[in-house]
C-alpha cells in the first residue's frame, strides 16, 4: 500500500481505507454467525414464555410435552441453581444483581414481564421443539401490572419485588420496599441563587419510549455439555468473556470449564452482552447429552431481550442575557423494566457535563416496572438526556434571539472543566466540533421555501460519550512468510478487526493484509472485556500498539543476532531493523521473522490494557426536516453529522459509525417505540416497530474532526456511541423551527406532530393509541 495524500504526512496505513479482512466472507455468505452453527447430533431448543407481564406461576405441567415424539429434554427454573445472593454480575457495560439475572433467564415462582422464560424444551427437529413447547401447560395467577415508571413510583403502587429497597444518594437503604431501586444525585453550587441570577428560565417535561437496539440478527446460542463437565458455547455475543463469567455464575460452575466461542455478530449495540439463551441451551444440552442450538424469533427478541430505557425527564435551565448558563435542574426517571439497572447514572452525567453550569442539581431514579428488563443501547442513557437538555437549550437560544450553535459555543466544556461528578475533562474537541458545525455549508445553506403544506426547518444538537477503556488482551504470533497473526478477544461488531490490523501494520511496517486478525475464544486469548462503550479501537487498539512494541523489542534481539551486533545497537523503523551507527547494515522484519527458528525459536508478543484515561468524543448534528402540516409527517431532507474522532484509523469505518448512529437516532426520534397495553407489547414485529428504511433517510454526510485524545496511540478516540446522542434533539429542534411547535414526547410520529399542531380539537385522549411505553 502506498502513502495517500488523504492521511497527511504522518502515517503510512492509519487513515487509509483498506478492504476489511472479513469482508469477502461477509459478502459471499460464508461468514459464520451464531445461528449458522451445525453440530453432529444437534438438537433444537425452544423457550416457553409468559404471556402475562405480572403473574404468579401456580404450576408447570410438562407431561404432554415430554411424550411428544422427538423431545429429548425439558427444563424449568427447578433445573437452575437458585441464587439468593446479593452478588452483582458486571457486564462491562451495565450490571445486574445475580439473583435477578437468574430470573431473567428463567422465571421462578413469579413472572415479572411478558416474554419471560418459564420453561424450555429440546427436540430432534425445530418443528418438534415448537410443537412440544405448545404442549407445556403453565397455570398463572395474574397480578396487577405496573406499566408506567411514574405510576410505579407512587407509594401505593403494587410492588414488583417485595425485597427491593431504594438505595439513597448517600448509599443508604430506604426503610420501606418500593419500585424505586435507586436514587442518585449530583449537585454543584447554589441552585436557587443560580436561577435568581438568570434572565431566562425554561422548564419542560420530556418522555421517551422504550426502544429496541433492532440488530438484524436475533439472539442465538448453541451449547454442548460434555460428559466430563466441560461446556462449550457458540454464540453471537459482544463479549465472550462476559458471557463466560455470566454462565459460570448463573450455572454455578467454574469459569475454567467453560469455553465460549464468539461467532460473527449480526449487530449488538449493547443488546448482546447480557446472556439469555446461552444458559438455557447449556442446561438443555446437559440434560439431553447432545448439543442444542436455539435462536429467537423477532417477537421473542422484542419481548424477551433488553431494550433501551424509556424515560421521563424534567429539565429546567437558566441563562443570562449573554447566553451564559447559570443554573440547571434535572429530574430524571429511567425505567429499568422488570429488574433494577436503568442507565440513569450515565444519563445524569451526560446531560450536563457538556456545558459549564456553575449551579445545578440532578436527581435520577432507577425504577422497576412490568416490562422487559432494559439493557445497554448505544450510549446508554445519553440520548434521552440530550433530548431534554438540547431541546431546552434551543428554546433558550430562541428566546434570547441567539444562534443555537453560538449559545453552545459560549457554554461548551473544554479541557479542565469538570464532569458533573467532579472529574475534570482531559483534552476534548467540543469547541472544534461546534466551530465545524458553524462553518459548515449545510448550516449556512438556505432552507427550501415552504411549498403548500410542506414547511422546512433546521435543527442542531450536540452530545458526547465517555470513551471507556476496561481490559483488553492482544497476542501476536508470526508466520514464516513474514505475516502476523493478531489474536484478540475483542468481538468484531462492525469491522474493528480491520482497524486493529491497521495499527499493527502501521507499527510493524507491514501492509494491512499481511496482518491476520483473529477473534479468539475464551480458551485461546487473555481476558478481554466486551465490545461496547466505544472501547475497541481505543483500548484494544492500544493493546495492539503495545503488543507491537513488545514484538519489536523481541525481534530486535533476533535481528541483532542476524546482524551480528549488540541488541542495543539495533533500531527499528519502516519495517526494517538497522544499526544506529552503521545504517547500511539492515534487515527487514520479514527476514527476521523468516529466521526465527534459527535464532531461538518462535516469539509471542503481547499487549495488555487495563486502564486508559477517558477519551470523550463529542459530536453535533445538523438536520433539515420537511413537515407536512396537514398530516404531521416529518421527512429528513438533509443530514450532517460532525464528530471529534481523535484520529480516524479507518475513515470509512468511522463514517459508517456516524451514519449508522444518526440513522438509529432518527428512528428513535420519528418512528420507534414499544406500544404497551397493560404491559403487553402490541407491536413486536418490524412492521409496527418501524426501523427507518432506505427510503426514509437521505445520504448522511459526515465531518471527521480530529482532536487527539490524551491517551493511547495516534490520539484515537472511540466513536461508536456518540452519534446516537444528538439526533433526537436535533430533529425535535428542526421540527420546532419548521412548525413553531415543540414536541417533547417520543416518537414524534405523524399523529403526535399533527396533534401538537392543533390538528385535533382536543389533546390526546383515550381515543389515541398509546404510543409510548
Amino acid at each position: 500500500m502506498k502513502v495517500t495524500e488523504k492521511n497527511g504526512h504522518e502515517y503510512r496505513v492509519i487513515g487509509t481505507r483498506p478492504i476489511r479482512h472479513d469482508g469477502v466472507d461477509k459478502v459471499t455468505g460464508r461468514a459464520q454467525f451464531g445461528a449458522d452453527v451445525r453440530l453432529p447430533g444437534m438438537l433444537y431448543g425452544q423457550v416457553v414464555r409468559s404471556p402475562y407481564p405480572h403473574a404468579r406461576i401456580k404450576s408447570i405441567d410438562t407431561r404432554r410435552a415430554q411424550e411428544h415424539p422427538g423431545v429429548r429434554a425439558i427444563i424449568t427454573a427447578a433445573d437452575m441453581p437458585a441464587l439468593d445472593t446479593d452478588a452483582v454480575a458486571e457486564l462491562g457495560e451495565g450490571a445486574i444483581e445475580l439473583k435477578y439475572a437468574s430470573q431473567l433467564i428463567m422465571a421462578r415462582d413469579k413472572v415479572v414481564y411478558q416474554g419471560q422464560p418459564v420453561a424450555a424444551v429440546a427436540a430432534t427437529t425445530r418443528q418438534a421443539a415448537r410443537d412440544a413447547a405448545r404442549l407445556i401447560e403453565v397455570e398463572y395467577e395474574p397480578l396487577p401490572v405496573v406499566e408506567d415508571a411514574l405510576a410505579a413510583m407512587d407509594p401505593g403502587a403494587p410492588l414488583i419485588h417485595a425485597d427491593l429497597y431504594t438505595v439513597t444518594p448517600g448509599g443508604g437503604k430506604a426503610e420501606q420496599p418500593s419500585n424505586v431501586a435507586k436514587h442518585i444525585q449530583y449537585e454543584r453550587g447554589d441552585l436557587e441563587a443560580g436561577f435568581a441570577e438568570a434572565d431566562v428560565v425554561i422548564e419542560r417535561e420530556f418522555r421517551t419510549a422504550m426502544v429496541h437496539q433492532g440488530y438484524i440478527e436475533p439472539q442465538n446460542a448453541t451449547a454442548s455439555w460434555e460428559a466430563d463437565g466441560r461446556l462449550t458455547v457458540w454464540t453471537s455475543t459482544q463479549g465472550a468473556f462476559s458471557a463466560r463469567e455470566q454462565l459460570a455464575q448463573l450455572l454455578q460452575i467454574p469459569a475454567g470449564r467453560i469455553r465460549v466461542i464468539p461467532m460473527e455478530v449480526g449487530g449488538g449495540f449493547g443488546g448482546k452482552i447480557q446472556v439469555y439463551l446461552e444458559p438455557i441451551a447449556a442446561l438443555l444440552s446437559r440434560k439431553a447429552g447432545r448439543p442444542v442450538k436455539m435462536w429467537m424469533s423477532r417477537a421473542e427478541v422484542f419481548t424477551g431481550t433488553g431494550p433501551g430505557s424509556p424515560t421521563y425527564i424534567r429539565c429546567k435551565l437558566g441563562a443570562k442575557r449573554s447566553g451564559a448558563l447559570v443554573a440547571a435542574q434535572l429530574y430524571m426517571v429511567y425505567d429499568a423494566g422488570a429488574f433494577p439497572g436503568a442507565p440513569v447514572g450515565a444519563g445524569a452525567v451526560t446531560a450536563l457535563s457538556p456545558y459549564r453550569v456553575p449551579n445545578f442539581r440532578i436527581d435520577g431514579y432507577d425504577v422497576v416496572t412490568n416490562k422487559p428488563r432494559v439493557q445497554s443501547y448505544r450510549a446508554p442513557g445519553a440520548p434521552q438526556a440530550a433530548f431534554a437538555v438540547e431541546t431546552v437549550l434551543d428554546e433558550i437560544a430562541e428566546s434570547l434571539g441567539m444562534d443555537p450553535v453560538e449559545l453552545r459555543l459560549k457554554n461548551a466544556s473544554a479541557e479542565g472543566d469538570r464532569l458533573v461528578y467532579g472529574t475534570p475533562f482531559n483534552r476534548i474537541g467540543f469547541r472544534e466540533v461546534l466551530e465545524a458545525v458553524r462553518d459548515h455549508p449545510h448550516y449556512n445553506a438556505p432552507l427550501p421555501e415552504r411549498r403548500g403544506p410542506y414547511a422546512f426547518g433546521r435543527g442542531v444538537a450536540a452530545g458526547f460519550w465517555f470513551g471507556g477503556s476496561l481490559t483488553s488482551t492482544v497476542q501476536l504470533t508470526f508466520n514464516p512468510d513474514g505475516t502476523v497473526n493478531l489474536i484478540t478477544g475483542s468481538v468484531d461488531l462492525s469491522g474493528s478487526r480491520a482497524s486493529l490490523a491497521m495499527i499493527v501494520a502501521e507499527e510493524l511496517g507491514l501492509e494491512p493484509h499481511e496482518v491476520k486478525p483473529i477473534v479468539a475464544d475464551t480458551d485461546t486469548v487473555g481476558y478481554t472485556d466486551v465490545t461496547g462503550g466505544s472501547r475497541t479501537t481505543y483500548a484494544t487498539g492500544t493493546a495492539c500498539w503495545r503488543a507491537c512494541q513488545d514484538a519489536i523489542a523481541q525481534l530486535k534481539v533476533r535481528a541483532a543476532q542476524l546482524l551480528e551486533a549488540d541488541p542495543d545497537a539495533v533500531t527499528f523503523g519502516g519495517g526494517e531493523f538497522w544499526l544506529w551507527e552503521e545504517p547500511q547494515y539492515r534487515i527487514s522484519l520479514k527476514e527476521v521473522v523468516a529466521n526465527l527458528q534459527k535464532t531461538g525459536g518462535p516469539i509471542v508478543a503481547k499487549g495488555i490494557v487495563n486502564k486508559l484515561k477517558m477519551a470523550p468524543a463529542f459530536g453535533a448534528h445538523i438536520v433539515d426536516v420537511g413537515v407536512d402540516l396537514e398530516t404531521g409527517k416529518v421527512d429528513i431532507v438533509r443530514y450532517t453529522a460532525v464528530q471529534d474522532v481523535g484520529k480516524a484509523i479507518h475513515p470509512t469505518a468511522v463514517e459508517g459509525q456516524l451514519q449508522g448512529g444518526a440513522a438509529q437516532g432518527i428512528g428513535w426520534a420519528l418512528f420507534e417505540g414499544y406500544v404497551f397495553d397493560g404491559g403487553v407489547m402490541r407491536n413486536p414485529n418490524f412492521l409496527d416497530y418501524r426501523l427507518p428504511t432506505a427510503l426514509d433517510l437521505p445520504m448522511i454526510d459526515t465531518v471527521l474532526v480530529e482532536v487527539p485524545a490524551s491517551d493511547g496511540p495516534y490520539g484515537v478516540r472511540g466513536v461508536g456511541e456518540t452519534p446516537i446522542v444528538p439526533p433526537i434533539a436535533a430533529v425535535a429542534n428542526a421540527i420546532a423551527r419548521a412548525t413553531g411547535v415543540r414536541i417533547r414526547e417520543l416518537p414524534m410520529s405523524p399523529e403526535r406532530v399533527w396533534r401538537a399542531l392543533g390538528g385535533a380539537d382536543q389533546p390526546a385522549s383515550d381515543d389515541q393509541a398509546g404510543e409510548t411505553g
Binding site: 488523504k6 487509509t16 476489511r20 460473527e264 455478530v265 462492525s494 433539515d624 414485529n685 412492521l687 432506505a694
Partner: protein, 194 residues
C-alpha cells in the same frame, strides 16, 4: 407430525432434491437442511429482507415461501452470486464499506442484483425504493446506496469484460479513494404528498 414430501428444485444452478415438512419455510430448509446459511433470518415474517433469495429470477422473502412451493423452481441464494470472482456488487460493497455487522448484507446483495437486472441504471431514489424491504440497522444505508449505484455504473461501463477494470478499481479502493463526497440529499426533492 405431518408426512414429509420430496421436493426437486434447482439451487444456484445445481439440481437439488430435499425432503421437508409442508410447514417448513424455504428459509429454514436452505439453512438447516441444505447448509446454505448465507441466507439470514432477521424477522421470519417478511419485514426485514435478510432472507432474500431469487425464485425464478425474482427476489422474494424466503421466510414467506414454503419449501414445498419450490418444486420445479429455480432458486439463487447469496452463495450463488459470485460466479468467476466476486460479483461487481460484492466488490462495490467491500470498497465502499457498505456493511458493518454483515447480517443484512446477503439480503441486500441478492435484492440489489435483482434491481440491477431489472434497472441497470437506477436512480438513487429507485435504488432506495427497491431496497426499502431490506432493513439495515448498522449503516444508515448511505454506503449501501453508493455501492449499488457505483456497481451499476461499473457494470454499464465495463459490460461483460469488466474484470480487469474491476481489479484496477479494487486496487484504487484499497488505497484510499473511497467516496465520501459531500452530497446534496435527494430525498428533499421528494417530500411526497401523503
Amino acid at each position: 407430525m405431518s408426512t414429509k414430501v420430496i421436493v426437486e428444485t434447482t439451487i444456484n444452478g445445481v439440481p437439488e432434491t430435499f425432503v421437508c415438512e409442508p410447514r417448513q419455510t424455504l428459509l429454514e430448509v436452505l439453512r438447516e437442511e441444505l447448509g446454505l446459511t448465507g441466507t439470514k433470518e432477521g424477522c421470519g415474517n417478511g419485514n426485514c429482507g435478510a432472507c432474500c433469495v431469487l425464485l425464478d429470477g425474482r427476489p422474494v422473502n424466503s421466510c414467506l415461501v414454503l419449501a414445498v412451493e419450490a418444486q420445479g423452481r429455480e432458486i439463487v441464494t447469496i452463495e450463488g452470486l459470485a460466479a468467476d470472482g466476486l460479483h461487481p456488487l460484492q466488490q462495490a460493497f467491500l470498497e465502499h464499506g457498505a456493511l458493518q455487522c454483515g447480517a443484512c448484507t446477503p439480503g441486500f446483495l441478492v435484492s440489489a442484483k435483482a434491481l440491477l437486472d431489472a434497472h441497470p441504471r437506477p436512480t438513487e431514489q429507485q435504488a432506495r425504493r427497491w431496497l426499502a424491504g431490506n432493513l439495515c440497522r448498522c449503516t444508515g444505508y448511505d454506503k449501501i446506496i453508493r455501492a449499488v449505484l457505483d456497481a451499476a455504473e461499473r457494470m454499464q461501463a465495463d459490460g461483460s469484460a469488466g474484470e480487469a477494470a474491476l481489479a484496477d478499481k479494487a486496487e484504487a479502493g484499497a488505497t484510499g479513494n473511497a467516496p465520501q463526497s459531500s452530497s446534496r440529499p435527494t430525498a428533499g426533492e421528494e417530500v411526497r404528498p401523503a
